[in-house]
Symmetry: C2
Subunit: 497 residues, 2 copies
């Protein structure tokens, strides 16, 4: 924690103390505990967000919980996150996507412009903007000399400021997959396979989760039918995306307010209520691009063998204005949660910035909702219980044996074994109180080790316990205990593998 | 890129366009290239930092390079980063440390307090502060109910605002290891093994890199010798940390300015110039804690078998005020770069915040300098050339065979193989121009595939090429080509493994 530090930063830390350990927490216990509920709050400040109240107590101390909507990852949660990210990465590997990343400091310049150079020279802390929630690969893509097509993925943090709901946080991790340079529906078919492969790896079935698919071109065709001007398209999309969240009447009202005729509004809502592709073809006609695209995609779904996961639902338009073709979102079939992931084709995003367009499509898959899904399905054993994994615990039975114990731990680590070197104060206490300080055999000591260190070893899931005791060490030996079988034997220290 | 999006964010993106593709970049080439040097800059803004000049051209467009001091990670760099992080994680595993993480949004509250709730409701983007560059685990530690001792590591992004030098960036990744609850030098000995294990895994030897070790207690002892008041300790540390950067005269001048006698200043500089532990013992006396600690650590170094990596150097004090005991930093022996990593014991950081102290020590290891070291040692082959890895390329020789090709790709992926599904437009072009559109044998086509797709397959390091051609597919067969041996044979599609 040091190479990266400098005194102004420390000052900065001192100004924002977030260290809430109660002085009473540590009193009198050799096995110290920091209790979540005995936290002290130091200094006065504001918390933020929905409540906007001041979380201070009488002493004027800070609420040290993570900011609302953000998370700590203690070891057990971190193991789960690592496991989930490994699934993201494995699916990306199977799909032959390449991982990329990009700076989150994109907008520092903007702040500095506002704050003035002088301020930024003086304060060690610097503000920066939320990430734009756009295809991050696009930013990198625009800066790289590349040849098309490209299949890129990122796993990165995203931030936003908004009201929090279940599975919707201010800070989360998101797996993004994007394909650049493939104009055909084949690209969307690939993305959908990635999503389905992930679900399958997590043990989720098509009866737990489904993917609704439609195309922006459906809405486009309806607008054409009623000769609705092009500039209203994005606006209508945003309103229509609220279908299911607002009532039909509210949607109608909002659509009317854009200046559409009531006939057009009825027509839009009618088409967008369709759940059958053949019905859509009837209404729009088979020559329409939307229908051809969707039929092609559903035929791909058969070939890829994930047809049971996807369904046509004309009401899916996605909230973002930049989609141009196929759009999709995954949902839990019980309907308890918000969309698990979503995406689509955005062929015209580059021209928005005055450049030539590149065919592009992609999706974003947050970590929060999928973990909710897994929790809901936990009775199916979907969330693995990932224990800590340690190979050996090396335990010197005497303080003077710390040197040899270090040497043993060091050489086992060089052989690739995960080794914890422990010291149990209570064992020493037992030693001095229960046994007078004369010669103590390893057998006797290891009886105690069985009750204390053995329990510790079992808790952290170690596979071997290596006891370094005086009588054995004199002969260059150590005592090894296999935790699964409780088998115990002596080994030459140099011959430990 | 979509589930996480909302229209205000898109607006936000539109306001900060960073998409610099030149309209000419994509013209006329089926193999499109975005050239780094033909970037267009859209809209006017400021860049920031050392130059503070406005990087705009006549059209008033934005410089779309990553902000100064930050990095893009295109696939080839990302593979290197992943490789380095894997080394960090593997060493942490060997040392039985557990990974944790924590939010980077710690300080959102502060900003909101300054900006007012109203503003944050209106803008979709939100500023947040730089991370404090303190032991991040400490923050999490303070929020968790835990039992000591604890061995935690993090790999996370850090930001700072300062002048950039070689290997010193505004945004970087850092591997932190911290041990809480072990008061004895054994903890520092463990941390040093972790650092040495990492170097060894990277192929770096003790003749490339060394670790300078000292203790804050050395300076403390000198200050005691000259009866220098306690409150000057931190200030003296910060000045003394500049030894080697400033001249001896400048250091002397700075020390004098704190009010020290010239005798004390000479004494301090004399002791801090010592490079031998026995000499130190001579000057300070053997009863001094600093000497006992350091002797113990060097004896551990023998046991751990990394004594050749470390050396005593009294001038090492580290810049941060909060260290209390052993301090260390790794350096390249050629002396070209800044410290590779650094850390030490900080037993009294918690009491700074009014809580009871917990013994703690740790280090921070940035990704930037170590990559520099590896680059310098590249002639030794230390930086691996990590190619893209793909198992199979599935290649339909006809557009109508896209369906079967998808099906084959899909089933291979389910079997765990990394499969890229490709389409080569130029191959089709050959097909129509060189062969009239009558029956074309796969053998003929695969001759072309050898020249085009085969080259592609070799470039992306695929192991097999699976050709789906009409005449074979009619019999339910595909043609397989092993890229390493150039062996070619037919296989039943369903029997592909």
């Amino acid at each position: 924690m040091a190479a990266w530090s400098s005194s102004p930063s420390l000052r900065h830390l001192l100004l924002r103390p977030r260290l809430p350990l109660s002085p009473t927490c540590f009193a009198g216990s050799s096995r110290r505990h920091v209790h979540r509920h005995s936290r002290r709050r130091l200094f006065s400040t504001l918390t933020h967000g929905d409540t906007a109240s001041t979380h201070c107590d009488g002493d004027g101390v800070v609420d040290v919980n993570p900011p609302r909507g953000t998370r700590d990852f203690p070891p057990e949660d971190m193991r789960l996150r690592t496991w989930l990210f490994d699934q993201f990465r494995e699916v990306s590997r199977l799909m032959a996507f390449e991982e990329v990343d990009f700076p989150v400091l994109e907008s520092e310049a903007l702040f500095i412009r506002k704050a003035g150079e002088e301020i930024t020279q003086q304060v060690s802390s610097i503000f920066f903007l939320y990430l734009p929630f756009s295809p991050p690969s696009l930013l990198l893509f625009s800066r790289k000399s590349v040849s098309l097509p490209l299949k890129w993925f990122t796993i990165g943090q995203c931030w936003r400021y908004e009201r929090m709901t279940r599975g919707r946080r201010r800070e989360h991790y998101q797996w993004n997959m994007d394909i650049f340079g493939v104009p055909k529906v084949r690209a969307e078919a690939e993305l959908l396979q990635a999503i389905v492969l992930l679900f399958q790896r997590l043990g989720i079935t098509s009866s737990d989760v489904g993917i609704r698919v439609s195309s922006r071109k459906v809405l486009q065709a309806v607008l054409n039918m009623y000769s609705i001007p092009e500039h209203l398209f994005a606006q209508v999309c945003v309103i229509v995306d609220k279908l299911g969240k607002l009532t039909r009447e509210e949607i109608e009202k909002e659509l009317m307010s854009t200046g559409l005729s009531s006939e057009a509004v009825r027509g839009i809502i009618e088409v967008l209520s369709l759940k059958s592709l053949s019905k859509l073809e009837e209404v729009l006609g088979s020559g329409v691009e939307a229908v051809a695209d969707l039929k092609k995609l559903f035929s791909f779904a058969e070939q890829y063998d994930y047809a049971d996961w996807i369904c046509f639902d004309a009401s899916v338009v996605r909230g973002l204005a930049y989609y141009t073709g196929i759009v999709f979102e995954a949902f839990d079939r019980e309907g308890n949660l918000r969309a698990i992931c979503g995406g689509g084709r955005y062929d015209r995003l580059l021209s928005t910035f005055g450049s030539e367009d590149i065919p592009a499509c992609g999706f974003g898959f947050g970590d929060a909702v999928i973990v909710e899904v897994c929790h809901l399905l936990k009775e199916k054993g979907l969330l693995p219980d990932i224990p800590r994994q340690i190979d050996d615990i090396v335990f010197p039975l005497d303080e003077e044996l710390e040197g040899p114990a270090s040497s043993i731990a060091s050489s086992l680590r060089k052989k690739g074994r995960a080794v914890d070197l422990v010291e149990d104060k209570r064992l020493k206490w037992y030693k001095y109180y229960f046994f007078p300080p004369f010669y103590i055999s390893v057998t006797e000591i290891s009886l105690l080790a069985t009750t204390r260190v053995f329990k510790h070893a079992e808790r952290i899931n170690a596979s071997r316990l290596i006891l370094v005791g005086n009588s054995e060490w004199e002969r260059g030996m150590v005592r090894v205990k296999i935790l699964s079988t409780r088998e115990e034997f002596e080994v030459k220290a140099g011959e430990l593998e």
